[in-house]
């Protein structure tokens, strides 16, 4: 497992996806900074708390599923797209270890993007005129960004499964777009939140706060989705044939 993890980390060296994902996640604070500056000019200035909350909502509801889905399809789909599957599957390393290593890398990458989203919000918030940021608010903002990154990450195994089954980038990207849309639609009804995992990050950071959703149940659904998703990924890879 450690060997596979080591190799997975190296595979990302000099990858343009690192920068693309960092720029992508910074889009949330960038967009909110524009809105923040616009509303401030109309006499209703935002606070750092509001700014952070809006960033987290945007990531949870829209950006996260799409962007993290892109990472999942890159990490899992590239072995087929780049033609390396027919080689790595002939190595004396269990395929389960390879899948788990990919999920571990995806987790670290997701957390790093949470940090990048927080870090990029600092200069953007300052430029938007939010003023001084206290240590307490900054710490809360960082933990909120990491929290939403974990939530979105937990919904990713289904996208990675589509990348494996679809053996390329296009099917999981289409799926990620669908998942984003389904998540947004399901968010409007607390009844459907439980059956659409991609709506749960939004429900957790948005609905719970407003009393629309109870805290415990969606998290259980999300955890079960993750566990079942990882197992499906493992079962698929363990039995997959590389015949193209």
């Amino acid at each position: 497992m450690f060997r596979a993890l080591h190799a997975e980390v190296l595979k990302l060296k000099a990858s343009p996806m690192l920068w693309i994902s960092a720029v992508g996640i910074s889009f949330a604070p960038f967009l909110n900074a524009i809105v923040c500056a616009t509303t401030a000019s109309r006499g209703t200035p935002w606070t750092w708390e509001r700014f952070t909350e809006q960033n987290v909502n945007l990531i949870a509801l829209l950006l996260g599923t799409m962007l993290f889905g892109l990472l999942a399809c890159y990490v899992f789909g590239r072995e087929f797209v780049e033609g390396t599957a027919k080689h790595v599957f002939t190595l004396p390393l269990t395929r389960t270890a390879m899948v788990l290593a990919k999920f571990a890398v995806l987790f670290v990458w997701s957390m790093a993007l949470g940090v990048v989203a927080f870090a990029s919000s600092l200069p953007l918030g300052w430029i938007a005129g939010l003023g001084r940021l206290s240590t307490t608010v900054a710490a809360k903002a960082l933990s909120d960004h990491l929290y939403v990154a974990i939530l979105v990450y937990l919904a990713m195994p289904l996208t990675s499964l589509v990348a494996l089954v679809g053996r390329g980038y296009l099917p999981p990207m289409v799926f990620a777009a669908f998942a984003t849309l389904a998540g947004v639609v399901a968010m409007n009804s607390s009844k459907y939140v439980f059956i659409v995992p991609w709506s749960i990050p939004g429900a957790m950071v948005f609905g719970v706060k407003r009393g629309l959703v109870r805290w415990g149940n969606p998290l259980v659904v999300l955890a079960l989705t993750f566990i079942a998703g990882v197992m499906l990924n493992i079962v698929y890879v363990e039995t997959a044939q590389v015949d193209t």
Partner: protein, 318 residues
């Protein structure tokens, strides 16, 4: 223990069916330790599917593969530690350099020595490309990198699918010498598929010829050479008349007429002068008369064409 000459890879009734198409049909191969096995077949004959089943990439419909006495299973890892592989055009991580691609392999194989990478680079002549990104490499250089990756952990068995694909003549020769050296110095066993007969001819110790998924022949190369038949090849102005004269005057029965009209005579080899005189005196112009030997190419073409005719006839029915 697997001593020299012992069977190291064997396939038993190996069959693969894709939909209605039988890609591999009851294949029984034997690869012995220390040999270079050339797996010959036309494009689409079933070579790559066979290799993929050997490596556990594709599940056989029937039969099985054994490597060093252990059965190969998709997802199984026990047998794979002995192998170095190159399957068709090798894939690499395009964002990584030649060196880093090999570093990924080193880590996945759990090799302790970083020097193994330098050794593989030197062995395959990739010194100048070590810092270049894999995505920018030419087909030939990618093939070398594929070989370097396969050789990195100094495997006991190399399974190579068309290893000289995309290489120029000099590159093909280098690979041939490299593989020969590996066998001579380290006793590596090599199973290589190819459709380029001249490449195989100069390297292998044993041959398997596959056509339409079936193994037509498995033979030691030395035996094939000993069996190769000498013949007189004639190019004449009137093939039909020449064949008649050969039959009537020289009692020749063993001859073939090639598609291009050339006649191959397998008898009366010591009477080439008389044959020439007889044809010329019958006003048949002889534009070519050479003494030749049946090459591997001839043998291969004969076998696969016979197979084609047999298959076509069996499809047409009685």
């Amino acid at each position: 223990m697997h001593g020299a000459g012992s069977t190291i890879i064997c396939t038993n009734g190996l069959t693969k069916v894709f939909g209605r198409h039988k890609a591999v049909d009851g294949l029984n191969l034997r690869l012995r330790k220390g040999e270079i096995y050339g797996f010959l077949g036309r494009n689409g004959a079933g070579k790559t599917t066979t290799i993929r089943m050997m490596l556990g990439l594709v599940r056989p419909t029937e039969g099985h593969v054994e490597i060093m006495g252990e059965r190969v299973k998709p997802g199984g890892t026990r047998t794979l530690r002995h192998l170095g592989t190159l399957v068709e055009t090798p894939g690499f991580y395009p964002n990584l350099s030649v060196y880093d691609n090999l570093e990924v392999q080193r880590r996945l194989m759990g090799l302790k020595r970083p020097a193994a990478i330098d050794e593989a680079i030197e062995l395959t002549g990739l010194g100048r490309e070590r810092g270049r990104k894999a995505g920018t490499l030419s087909t030939g250089t990618r093939q070398r990198l594929g070989l370097a990756r396969a050789l990195l952990h100094k495997p006991e068995i190399l399974v190579l699918d068309e290893p000289t694909n995309g290489l120029d003549p000099a590159g093909i020769k280098e690979v041939r010498l490299l593989l020969r050296r590996l066998v001579d110095e380290t006793g590596t066993t090599i199973f290589m598929s190819s459709h380029i007969l001249t490449e195989v001819e100069q390297l292998v110790t044993r041959l398997g010829i596959i056509s339409r998924g079936r193994l037509l022949e498995e033979i030691d190369y030395e035996e094939l050479r000993a069996r190769s038949r000498a013949y007189l090849e004639l190019q004449v102005s009137d093939t039909g008349a020449a064949v008649r004269i050969l039959g009537e005057r020289f009692r020749v029965r063993d001859l073939t007429v090639q598609e291009d009209g050339k006649i191959r005579v397998f008898e009366c080899l010591d009477r080439a002068g008389e044959v020439n005189t007889a044809l010329v005196s019958s006003e048949i112009m002889v534009s070519r008369l050479v003494f030749n030997e049946e090459s591997l190419e001839d043998h291969f073409m004969k076998l696969t064409q016979e197979d084609y005719h047999v298959q076509s006839a069996s499809r047409r029915g009685p």
